[in-house]
Amino acid sequence: MQQYLLTILILLPAVGALAVGLHGSAPYARAQHYRWIALGFSALTFAVSLLLLGAPVGLGAGGTFHFVQDLPWVESVGAHYHLGVDGISLWLVLLTTLLVPVSILSSWTAIEKRELAFYASMLVMESAMIGVFVSLDLLLFYLFFEASLVPMFFLIGVWGGDRKLYAAIKFFIYTAVGSLLMLAGIIALWYAFGTFDYAQILAALQADPHRLTAEWAFWLFLAFAFAFSIKIPLFPLHTWLPDAHTEAPTAGSVILAGVLLKMGTYGLLRFNFALFPEQARNFAPLFVVLAVIGIIYGALVAMVQPDVKRLVAYSSVSHMGFVVLGMFSFTEWGMQGALYQMLNHGVSTGALFLLVGMIYERRHTRQIADFGGLSKPMPLFATLFVFTALSSVGLPLLNGFVGEFLIMFGTWNTGFVYLFWVGERAFHLNTWVVTMLAATGVIWAAVYMLWMLQRVLFGRVTNEKNRRLADLNWREIGLLLPLLALMVFMGAYPRPFLERSRASIEQVRARVVAGETQGVFSAAAQESK
Amino acid sequence: MFTIPLFVLFGAMAVGCALAMVAQRNPLYSAISLIGVFVSLACLYMTLQAPFIAAVQVIVYAGAIMVLVVFVIMLLNVEEEVRRPVRLRFLVPVGVLLAAILIGEAAFILKLPGAASRIDAFGQRPSDVGLTASIGTALFTEYLLPFEVTSVLILMALVGAITLARRTATPRLAAPGNVDTEPPELGPRGEVFIRPGDTAETGRAFARHQLQRGEAAASAKRTGEEGER
């Protein structure tokens, strides 16, 4: 049973999609049936995924994986059907299985056309996303990574907003181009190691770190990092995100922000750090700078957005910048915080998109100017909105705080000096500068969020249409509740999360910081701990 | 020996006829020039001690293929080419390039080094390879399979030529399985224009048209019904 658990998790939603499709040909099929089938299967998937928590608390220690299934797949090229979870992927799988039923529930009345295709796409996507996080074979990983693209493309393109075509094509082309380069990298790895199996490649690298020449490692790191940076998205590659987020239907935005972006950071942790540690060190200054630019830029652009959804989208750029910053601090604090922030972002931003979707469903507009004083007709909505926004901003005792605090604490404490070479001249970038700059991002976040809240929720009701809006119904409260509960729980008691991921994070960290002392970054490093 | 003047004479004739063929704008004159090329080549084959090929050249090329070409030209009454700017522009650089390479190759061949003289020495001898007997012998031993496969080729050409050149029945009106939403085009007096490839709707309209004009035959009615399916 143990070894089939992950396969079952991948297959359950796929079977659900099939069931939705088959039901469509039944004579008594009604449009309302599909959402029930989809909800049933995704809830079942969530329930099954909870079994993953049965893994021991210190899972991932010594680089081991749990619930491993390893079968030969394409023998001629040495590809395996190799699945497994460790402390990193465990939480991301759970996040996925939680967000999918929530977003299906959120589409209950919002989706009014082509229900069959919509719910089938959602379930197919869930399969692919779970597959991404549990694959331990590069080819399999790539397969799921790309497969998650297609249903998302349809979600945006068919059920999206006014500029859905533009957004869908931009989304697909950006991510497909990045992942194609990664494919070239994966094939190059196959050429070097004769296998696609992650564990085997890692073992070979640990046995002989010089198996890959520095030049190859350099290009391979770039190929992988490029694909993942687009997905995250890192600062200059982020332009697809606001469009995709804004035009996607609510469920699509939730999944996009909650899970798809995490594939990028997860990929960096899993592949770039573990396979090319030395290059990760060398590239750290670049990534740190881009992350900080992303944090500040995302926050500043969010501030001037007239569209609520676009504002939330830009806040994602800022938040994901924190994640990247934490990862490249190479400290336990920072990296743990990065993982924690991934979960936070999934929960908080997901909830924000849900809330935005709810008022959009009522008013069919997302312009801040169209709202104002919503707290009067919709007190419950206003309360939950404020609560979620505060969690996203990072109010102490809520989840956002823990993540951002850990990241900044970790970054401050690296004591590393990032060294740049511009021609012959070296520039030093002290980490406290980086941390201070990133910290301003938190302040900006408070500014844009609170300002938005003020304009949308408080003050006088300026638009007559807003006066008679109905408050949240039970379904909407029900789907927000688990997320709100998580915000509080993760803010107050992070230990169960952190202790399960510690060993795995430590594995990755050890791989990056230990070893040879070559490279710009570690040459200038002075451990202060 | 006479071979050098013979080569010069027939070689010049071949090139001249070939140039004339390309220069002519009337296809009929081109065809006649081409026959000139074929005949001069046949003569060159004689100088190369290949009497069988020379004979076949005259019989098959000049006798059969060119007669067919001339026949088609006469049958279709092909007009003269009109001079106008070249529209196959993309082929022009390719053509110039190819021609340059080929001319370069011809020049190169004329100055072939080394081995040429040895081969030329072989060429001095009288040879029996060009005789019908040796060709026939080889054709039924070593080249048996290609020879047999040629029969498939000729069969194919037969079937193909007949399929293409045979006149077909009237244009089809409708076919089962075709649905279409385009209304048929009506002429000024309400008649239906039937174009190749027209389908159910046209068929139906045509059937109606025939019914109205009292021309309805059983077949037309059935056509209409098939369109409904």
């Binding site: - | 081109s30 090329v37 076949v56 050249q57 293929i65 067919l68 279709l76 080419e81 001319i103 011809a106």
Partner: protein, 100 residues
């Protein structure tokens, strides 16, 4: 005696004339005749090699090429007749239905 290279060069010249003809001619039948010229140039090469070598293979090849040329002629002229039935012109520039 004539050197072999003379024959080869003559053949290359004829082939070139054929290639140029195919490219500059507008009339389908003329283009077809230029292709026939190219095939004849090849035949000359084969026969020249064959008879200078004293090896029969080249002449067998010529025999087969002639068969192929005849078959191509039959099909090609069939196509020409089919197209002429639908359109009273053989000028390829009149190929207005398809872009070229």
């Amino acid at each position: 005696m004539i050197p072999l290279s003379w024959y080869l060069a003559l053949s290359a010249v004829l082939f070139t004339i054929g290639v140029v003809g195919v490219i500059i001619k507008r009339n389908v039948i003329s283009m077809f005749m230029c292709i026939e010229l190219m095939l004849n140039a090849v035949n000359l090469t084969f026969v020249a090699f064959s008879s200078y070598f004293g090896d029969v293979t080249g002449q067998l090849f010529v025999f087969i090429v002639m068969t192929v040329a005849a078959a191509e002629a039959a099909v090609g002229l069939g196509i020409v007749i089919a197209i002429f039935r639908n359109r009273e012109s053989l000028d390829v520039d009149d190929a207005s239905v398809l872009r070229l």
